[in-house]
């Protein structure tokens, strides 16, 4: 359950930020463009549509069929990189608070042994760092969207399906998108050069290569589930 309310000294004087970042129920984490090289070390990085606008976002896939973050095991993130979107998940930017922030009171980012948000009625150093970090993330996510818009204009985006097999049965994970390898291989010279100069060509390679991490998701799923999958494959129609 999400209960996002504007942050205030009075209401949240006792709130403490957990030393163990939450996000146990996250299916995916939104990524900024600068996070891509770091995120591909752990996660399949692909595209998903925003439910309100239909526009593509860059995401790190954290789950398979269940709404369960497979990288958070017994309360701890087990990944080399923690996406900013997950680290900052307890907070939102908000125009309804003097502090410019709102908090998800019902989220799993709080703990009694955590660092207080306020010390003697003033924002703690940890809290003071949140707003600039969120603003940087928003700008970074916008940069990722600009890159994706360039890919879309070149007709490079394709729907992908993660097919999960168990014996004779199969389950499919839909609603994810990636780049078309054939389209990338047959780009016009001028487009190749342009994408290269923008850094988008290497980003495209990282995204494509990261799909191999779907196997890592399967392993994590099997390690903690009583109904393991025999295989996990990415299908590009």
């Amino acid at each position: 359950m999400s209960a996002v309310v504007p942050l205030s000294v009075q209401r949240h004087a006792g709130l403490r930020l957990s030393p163990r970042p939450g996000g146990g129920a996250m299916r995916y984490a939104l990524l900024g463009l600068s996070e891509l090289p770091l995120a591909v070390a752990d996660f399949p990085v692909c595209l998903a549509k925003d439910g309100q606008t239909g526009r593509f976002d860059l995401i790190a896939l954290l789950s398979l069929t269940e709404p369960r973050n497979l990288f958070r095991i017994e309360g701890h993130w087990q990944s080399t990189y923690l996406p900013e979107g997950a680290r900052l998940a307890p907070f939102r930017l908000s125009a309804h608070s003097d502090l410019g922030l709102a908090v998800d009171e019902a989220g799993d980012g709080w703990a009694t042994d955590g660092e207080p948000l306020f010390a003697e009625g003033r924002p703690s150093p940890a809290l003071a760092a949140v707003r600039p970090a969120l603003e940087a993330l928003v700008a970074d996510v916008d940069a990722a969207r600009a890159m994706i818009a360039r890919f879309a204009a070149l007709d490079l985006i394709r729907a992908m399906t993660v097919v999960l097999g168990r014996g004779d049965g199969e389950e499919a994970l839909e609603g994810l998108y990636t780049l078309d390898p054939e389209g990338l291989a047959t780009l016009a010279d001028a487009d190749v050069l342009d994408l290269y100069r923008c850094g988008f060509l290497s980003a495209a390679s990282l995204m494509s290569a990261s799909l191999a991490q779907v196997e890592r998701l399967r392993q994590l799923h099997n390690a903690t589930s009583s109904v393991p999958f025999d295989r996990a494959e990415v299908d590009l129609p």
């Binding site: 549509k49 439910g51 309100q52 606008t53 239909g54 526009r55 879309a152 007709d155 985006i157 609603g175």
Partner: protein
Amino acid sequence: MTEGVEDGRGFRVVVVGGGSAGWIAACRIAAAHEDASVTLIESPTTPPIGVGEGTWPTMRNTLARIGIAEADFIREADAALKQGARFVGWTHGGEDAYYHPLNPPIGAGEVDLASRWVDGGGGNTSFADCVDFQASLCDAGLAPKKITSPQFSGIANYAYHLDAGKFAELLRRHGTERLGVRHIRQDVTTVDQAENGDITALHLADGSLQAGDLFVDCSGFKGLLIGGVYGVGLRDRSDVLFADRALALQVPYDTPDAPITCHTVSTAQSAGWIWDIGLWSRRGIGHVYSSAHISDDEAERQLRAYVGPQAEGLTARRLTINAGQRRIFWQNNCVAVGLSAGFLEPLEASSLMLVEVAVDAIADRLPRTPAAMRVAARQFNAAFDHHWERVVEFLKLHYVLTRRTDSDFWRDNVAATSVPDGLADRLELWRAHPPGPADFPHAPEVFGWPSYQYVLHGMDFETRYAEFAPPARHAKADRLIARAAGMKAEAARALPRHRELLRAIRDHGLQAV
């Protein structure tokens, strides 16, 4: 045709007329044939008719082929989505109503559900509600797709309601700026013909000459080339379809946030019917009627009574309907498309659909040699004789099944002399056996068996299916009917309200995938 085109190079297509038919033809041909030159000649003195506001799902293909993004179309043509039509008062003249949705019955072709429904398989639900989920979306004002659906793709089948004037303008910009269509605003004064009767060139009012190899006549009712040059007359169909006049109003919404109906509403009157079409910024509402059965004044009074106080201060536009089609559509190197090919009352939005089917046939195999064109013309004429006949029959179906006896209009409509033989024959067959693919062997067939089933069962057509259907098939039919019910609940959870979706599309666009 000149010698230079014998090898098919530099083929010159000249479209006469700048309404939606002319621009659809010019854009489709130019998009499909980069090697051909396409010129559209528009009269600066004759404005387009511009009342065609309902389309078929085929328009999605047409837009995709022309290369217009769906979101641009929705923004610029003031368009909304259409999931079918609701017919009110056609059977009994009261509140009775039924849907003709655009989705086919679930499991179409696998097992016939009509027999099961007739036999009580759907409980008390209407036929459309029993065999598919789309009618429930229409009732709830929900859209057939989500903002995350790719362009031209939906959870349910859909077409559009559009502003025909704005649509023609969008096509003009796209055609001239992206597809290389030449646009000339001049009246055609005279026509040069070769000895064999082919048109070689058009003389324009400014003294210039426009030569061509294929001439597409989209000049509207007058049929400048097909009628004016070749003297091909209309085959009058007013003996079957009585409506000969229409009154049209453009009605604003009560509030800017008023729901937009996601289907056409067609409400029967004493001597015709009223269309009600929701666009993004207004409604188009009009009365189609038979002047032999009602006066213009009374027709306008009924229209204003339907609209209510919103009609005050609005002036109704008057239109004449000459129900019928050309006896020949493609003569020599001239093919008539749009109103110049004919017109029928817009009961099932067949007008733009016939334009699309015609332009598909022309553009898919643009015949480059005189010999090929002769054969193409023969095939085209045979196909469109068939299509027009079947459209006439399908429109008549809506009238011939009525139980209304409250006016001469409805009584005359069921008179055997007004029913085409083909339709009368098939109705006999369909009393015993549901309409199926075998009844519609033509490819493409404009109205298929699902459309007939929706209208027949929407209007309580009496059948004997229950006697003849093997009960062994019931189990499978029941599974499909249960699945349709499940899809209804799922769609109601997942789909947004129609106006909300249109707003999101206008704000954010739609992705290509």
